[in-house]
């Protein structure tokens, strides 16, 4: 009996997801967080960036942001992204639309998973649903 109980305890330890998650938390604590990064179009043209995860700068290049209007007069923005690294990257994008006063008027909050081969280009297109949507804020996570 004395020998069986420690073996049983070990078996419980091996099958216990809580203990595995603790290990995951330790690993996450040792690595920098995967912070959200932003690229926002400007009224005068071009875009500004806010990099909260500096590692993304070594992986993903934001080449251009083109602003246009649809036939119905709604704003449309295309962001050109490139995987500038030598490894396959997966970026996750979502976006928000801002009114001229800077307030958020609409958003696509869920992340779109976009795998990118080394050197590959991708274009993220966002079309506004509301007429007051003026500027687009692209949200990016690289993982």
């Amino acid at each position: 009996m004395n020998k069986i109980l420690p073996v049983l305890s070990l078996g419980l330890l091996a099958g216990c997801t809580t203990i595995l998650e603790t290990g995951d938390r330790i690993e996450r604590g040792l690595t920098p967080p995967d912070a959200v990064n932003y690229a926002t179009t400007k009224p005068e043209g071009g875009f500004s960036t806010q990099l909260n995860d500096n590692r993304i700068g070594n992986k993903i290049e934001l080449l251009a942001a083109r602003k246009s209007k649809t036939d119905a007069g709604y704003s449309r923005v295309q962001f050109d992204l490139r995987n500038g690294s030598y490894l396959r990257q997966t970026i996750n994008v979502s976006f928000e639309w801002l009114a001229a006063d800077g307030s958020v008027v609409e958003s696509q909050p869920n992340w779109i998973v976009t795998p990118l081969e080394p050197g590959a280009l991708t274009t993220v297109t966002a079309t506004a649903l509301k007429t007051q949507s003026a500027e687009c804020r692209l949200r990016l996570i690289s993982r």
Binding site: M1, L8, L13, C16, T18, S94, N110, W111, R143
Partner: protein, 179 residues
């Protein structure tokens, strides 16, 4: 010693498992299932199709009257297809981009009662679609692709004026959490 071991076992049994917590439904820590369409899959496919749909010429002027048609679930998973449609219709209706015809029996009866000369909107477009799946595996690695297909039909001419297909492919040996 026996009592100590029993106590250790009891502590381990009680401490085992992950307590339930609330998660951001748009966040990164959601369960990814291999064999079923997850809630984030509907959101991803729906938002991408919405973006494509509003870029079509049919949405270039006014707020067209839209009626929802049949969305066929041709997967082994049992779910309500409104999980996909609501990701498209909610933003469209709330932004005034479409006039959505209510398709329930009460609305149909009200339309019938109002007579043919009444100022009742009639569907200009019908949105219909299908959700399919394709399963394959290599050894213990399983791959499951869900195909979301939508078609916008112009009622007057009976022709498809917009079509879109989005694939969500998941691969692995077991369900996981996160991207």
């Amino acid at each position: 010693m026996n009592k100590l071991s029993l106590l250790a076992c009891a502590v381990l049994i009680v401490g085992c498992g992950t307590p339930a917590t609330y998660k951001d439904p748009n966040g990164r820590d959601l369960v990814v299932s291999l064999d079923k369409v997850n809630i984030q899959d509907f959101a991803t496919a729906g938002s991408q199709m919405l973006q494509s749909m509003v870029s079509s010429p049919s949405f270039s002027k006014g707020a067209p009257v839209l009626q929802l048609g049949m969305i066929t679930n041709d997967t082994a998973d049992n779910f309500d297809t409104s999980l996909l449609l609501s990701k498209i219709t909610v933003p469209l209706v709330n932004s005034g981009r479409v006039t959505l015809l209510d398709a329930d029996a009460v609305a149909a009866a009200a339309r019938a009662a109002s007579g043919s000369n009444a100022n009742v909107p009639h569907a200009e477009y019908v949105l219909k679609g299908k959700i399919l799946e394709d399963r394959s595996n290599a050894g213990s690695t399983r791959q499951n692709s869900f195909v979301f297909q939508l078609t916008l039909v112009e009622v007057k001419r009976g022709v498809a004026v917009w079509q879109e297909e989005k694939l969500v492919t998941k691969q692995g040996t077991q369900n996981a959490i996160g991207f």
